[in-house]
């Protein structure tokens, strides 16, 4: 704001009538990924004041979830952060399981870790790819899109049946177990597709002078400011704050794996990019360790209150049929109470606050989206910079409108 004041004072001193130009960026704009809108007051190319506006993709996740059963809400959670839908499913299932007080089987926990880490890798690939498209480096987008297609074709589609909107987790486990040969394909995809793509993009960008000049020093933030604004995830770690829920809270079986958490220094766009690239490599490490130690055993807990009975029994046994009917029509019966459960999604802390009054469906679910405080912090990151820097910062902060608007 002081920029605006200084601008007006300068204009008065020169005895000129001057007003900053108001530029509307979005909501349908190639650089604002999907539906974000900025109203920028400009003095030349410098941004004096930035007002972000969103809500163009508000799809009423909360209101819809109030009229559906617990398992039906899983399909709505896919569409929150639609570039890494498996992580949203896992976070929701963990929250409801915390409310029910059940522990899932070991195999289920390992599988959840593996699919979360694959989702994290593809999310970072989209972020960096689209960020680079906005800066003009289109090749990286194609380099990163091929691994995404491979992960979809060989891993996610055989596993869940669809490419994007997966809906794979259930309360008390997963919808079904891994198909045969999935582990081998996963290792193959990592070795033959993901690691070479990361190496290619690294070779193109990290030491590239144009990239460095475009991103270094652009949109910096201090640790204190980042914490006050509620930043989490790679943007916070790029600012130098070592907060990673996988290490600090150790949910699922993350405490058994050996991985590092990359921390940046200045919190600018270049740091955010470097943190994401390194996180992808660390995710590959976690997946390799998890695939090696993947235990056998059942994937769902053996509790008739939560899992559907097997089809064999449903077709032959009346009690199993009634159990199945009750599960589908009424939903899983969950105790009364409220719970908040957070996981480390690709963008930061994804929290689910669930209020239950018993019964088959939730009373209220609030999703704490990681992008919300990041988008709120955009004025702080961009004011004083230029419009071209706004584009670079917006891409690096990775706002997904589905999550922001819910």
């Amino acid at each position: 704001m002081t920029e605006g004041v200084a601008y007006r004072k300068e204009a008065e001193a020169l005895d000129m009538q001057a007003e900053p130009m108001i530029l509307n960026i979005g909501p349908s704009h190639p650089a604002t990924h999907a539906t974000l809108r900025f109203i920028a007051e400009l003095g030349g190319e410098t941004i004096l004041k930035l007002t972000p506006e969103f809500g163009y993709l508000h799809r009423c996740f909360e209101k819809e979830s109030e009229s559906h059963t617990w398992t039906q809400v899983v399909t709505y959670t896919d569409r929150l952060n639609y570039v890494s839908p498996l992580m949203n499913n896992v976070g929701y299932a963990m929250a409801v399981e915390k409310l029910c007080g059940i522990d899932v089987t070991e195999r289920c926990q390992y599988i959840r870790v593996i699919i979360s880490e694959f989702s994290r890798i593809i999310d970072h690939m989209v972020c960096i790819g689209t960020n680079m498209v906005d800066l003009g480096a289109l090749t990286n987008f194609w380099y990163f899109w091929k691994p995404r297609e491979e992960v979809y074709m060989h891993l996610i589609e055989p596993l869940t049946g669809t490419r994007l909107t997966t809906g794979y987790t259930r309360i008390g486990g997963m919808a079904w177990d891994l198909p045969d040969g999935w582990e081998e394909k996963a290792r193959g995809v990592i070795k033959n597709v993901i690691l070479p793509a990361i190496a290619d993009v690294n070779a193109l960008l990290t030491k590239n002078r144009i990239f460095i000049e475009r991103t270094m020093g652009v949109g910096p933030i201090t640790p204190k400011e980042a914490i006050a604004r509620g930043f989490t995830g790679p943007c916070l770690r790029a600012a130098g704050v070592p907060l990673d829920l996988r290490k600090d809270e150790g949910y699922l079986v993350y405490d058994r794996f050996d991985f590092d958490v990359p921390i940046g220094e200045q919190g600018d766009t270049c740091d955010r990019y470097m943190v994401r690239m390194e996180e992808m490599r660390q995710s590959v490490r976690i997946i390799e360790q998890a695939l090696e130690r993947l235990p056998g055993g059942p994937v769902n807990i053996d509790d008739p209150r939560f899992g559907l009975p097997s089809k064999q029994e449903v077709y032959t046994n009346i009690e199993a049929l009634m159990n199945h009917f009750k599960h589908i029509m009424d939903g899983v019966q969950v105790p009364v109470g409220e719970v908040y459960s957070a996981t480390e999604a690709a963008n930061g802390e994804l929290g689910y606050y669930i209020v239950s009054k018993g019964g088959g469906g939730p009373y209220k679910i609030k999703v704490r989206p990681p992008c919300f405080p990041l988008f709120q912090g955009m004025p702080h990151l961009c004011e004083g910079g230029m419009i071209a820097d706004l584009v670079a910062v917006l891409g690096s902060v990775n706002i997904i409108a589905g999550e922001l608007d819910r």
Partner: protein
């Protein structure tokens, strides 16, 4: 199109050849405007990617300005806040233009039946092709582009010509 017709209104030999040439040129150079709002936007990016290459069908030049595009590809949920923006973009496009509604949300609101989601973009725009799916496979987008090409080739009437639909 400024082409000469015979006295009884039927096109003559040269006119039909010319129109066929025009249609051939048009159908292999569709410029899409991807109005990508939500998850379908990711599948649109997949369709333009290297695996499901849409440039085989000529529609690879994506234009982000409505003045330069002729196919509006609405991918994703449109809600009441976004609807005026979409209508304005549609109005800014120049004739002839085609509209493709991609995905369940653009076609009919999807599984979002609530106070904020427009139940299908055909409430405000004439739609030529609907692509079912949530999200549709990129092959669905290719199918839609081929359908638009067929419409161009045969000169089929566009949805805009019977808009607005009065019930």
């Amino acid at each position: 199109m400024a082409v000469k017709r015979e006295k009884d209104g039927a096109p003559g030999f040269l006119t039909t050849r010319f129109e066929a040439l025009l249609a051939w040129g048009r159908k292999y150079s569709i410029y899409p405007f991807t109005f990508a709002t939500a998850c379908c936007g990711i599948e649109v990016m997949g369709a333009f990617g290297t695996h499901y290459d849409l440039s085989r069908f000529g529609a690879e030049v994506v234009r982000f300005s409505p003045r330069q595009a002729d196919m509006l590809l609405v991918a994703g949920t449109v809600n009441y806040k976004m609807a005026p923006v979409l209508k304005r973009i549609y109005d800014q496009m120049l004739e002839p233009k085609w509209v493709v509604a991609m995905g369940a949300c653009a076609a009919s609101g999807g599984f979002y039946n609530n106070y904020s989601v427009l139940q299908g973009i055909d409430k405000i725009l004439p739609v030529d092709v609907y692509i079912p799916g949530c999200p549709p496979n990129p092959e669905g987008i290719i199918d839609a582009v081929v359908a638009i090409q067929k419409m161009l080739e045969t000169g089929a009437p566009r949805a805009a010509e019977r808009w607005p639909i009065k019930i």
